[in-house]
Amino acid sequence: MKHVQVLGPGCAKCDETAKVVQEAIAESGAEASFEKVTDFGVMASLGVFTTPAVVVDGQVKVVGKVPKKADVVAWLSA
């Protein structure tokens, strides 16, 4: 079971990222929990300073841009 976090204060790109990640989880059928992080302290403690960002099991996968769905699926199955 993977834990996926989408980090962002709620800008347009952050919402888009959340959507892409949720679709990737649904379509790949991967076992994953989804969490949206809007707290700046939590973001900083993860070492993320550019939003949006995607973190899988504590590992930062992408920062500053909306990921492609295929990439997210790859992270989920890795």
Binding site: P9, C11, V48, F49
Partner: protein, 350 residues
């Protein structure tokens, strides 16, 4: 072009085919660009057959020429900056700026031009800079420069108003960012940062340092063209339409007496009007063109544009999460003074 994950086998190879493709694309771009003016004249005056001296024909020709010109310029500049940007990540900027003072202000302002930035990421970026030990003044230089001096503003100013205005904006915008950041760095304002920010123990450099392939960089740049041009083209067409009307119908300098640089209060007034207005460069440049076309003074107009972009009420609300009210007041005061200075300077020498 499509593959973003075909790893090191292609990334290390000299990207000759991309250079050739790039040169080819640039040649086609230039061939089209250089024919825009004759084409617009041919279309309106010959093909449609309108009278060259009529105002409507002149306004139409201006519109048919300016719209593709500005859109093509914007596409080229955004693509080039996109490629550059794929090398400059925030994590890298943060490392470069750590622990630097005065020279740091200059570096921060310059890096602010090319580092990807949107106002919604101002807060995490601020925290990231503070926890990396970047001085407060240097951080502010970056925060002022990043939204204000960027490739969209410069491409639009160049396309609509020429290289002199674009150059002036670049130089004065950087000066305001450097100067304001330097002054704030001398004021020992660290205690006016919210306490929780200073207590954060940041996981250092957790952001992945992506080693992008050239295909990846090109795709990144193409994405930013799609996103930025897709977002701003409406403003540009509206702005050029307004400009075309002015170009065709309003005699030059007619309104100079009202909006010109004669009165001392015109600069502070335009800065004050600019603060509650919140817009990016794409929205404000066409307005600037219209104002200048009506004979407004350049210094007043530059001050207005900088105030709209750099001092905005929504951004202050966002920054309030990390800054105490006093520091926000100082920020507005120092940046506002810098903008005033720019306005007066240009009204005085031009």
């Amino acid at each position: 072009m499509k593959c973003t994950t075909c790893e090191s086998s292609t990334s290390s190879r000299f990207p000759l085919k991309y250079i050739l493709a790039g040169l080819g694309a640039l040649a086609i771009w230039y061939a089209l660009y250089s024919r825009l003016l004759p084409f617009s004249e041919w279309l309106i005056f010959k093909a449609v057959g309108m009278d060259q001296s009529s105002r409507l024909a002149q306004a139409l020709q201006f519109f048919v020429y300016d719209t593709p010109k500005v859109l093509m310029l914007l596409t080229l500049v955004v693509f080039a900056v996109g490629i550059l940007r794929s090398f400059v990540t925030v994590a890298w900027t943060r490392r470069v700026l750590a622990g630097r003072q005065s020279l740091g202000n200059v570096l921060a302002a310059v890096l602010g031009i090319v580092t990807p930035f949107c106002s919604c990421s101002a807060v995490p970026l601020f925290i990231g800079f503070m926890t990396a030990g970047i001085p407060l003044g240097v951080t502010f230089s970056f925060l002022i420069s990043a939204p204000m001096v960027n490739e969209i503003a410069l491409a639009l100013l160049y396309g609509l108003l020429g290289w002199k205005v674009a150059g002036l904006y670049l130089v004065t915008g950087l000066s305001v960012a450097i100067g304001a950041g330097w002054v704030m760095g001398r004021m020992n304002l660290e205690r006016h940062v919210e306490d929780w920010v200073l207590q954060i123990r940041a996981g250092a450099a957790a952001e992945p340092d992506e080693r992008m392939t050239w295909a990846g960089r090109i795709e990144y740049a193409a994405d930013s063209v799609r996103e930025i041009v897709g977002r701003v083209w409406k403003f540009i067409i509206l702005g050029i339409a307004a400009g075309a009307g002015i170009h065709g119908y309003v005699p030059e300098g007619q309104l100079a007496g009202i909006m010109g640089g004669g009165d001392w209060w015109s600069v502070p007034l335009s800065v004050l009007i600019g603060i509650p207005m919140y817009s990016n460069a794409a929205g404000v440049v066409p307005v600037v063109e219209a104002l200048l076309g009506k004979g407004a003074a350049l210094g007043t107009v530059l001050a207005f544009m900088m105030s709209v972009i750099a001092l905005s009420f929504p951004e202050m609300v966002i920054l309030r999460k990390v800054l105490k009210p006093r520091l926000i007041a100082v920020f507005v005061g120092v940046v506002g003074s810098g903008i005033l200075l720019v306005g007066y300077l240009f009204n005085a020498i031009l």
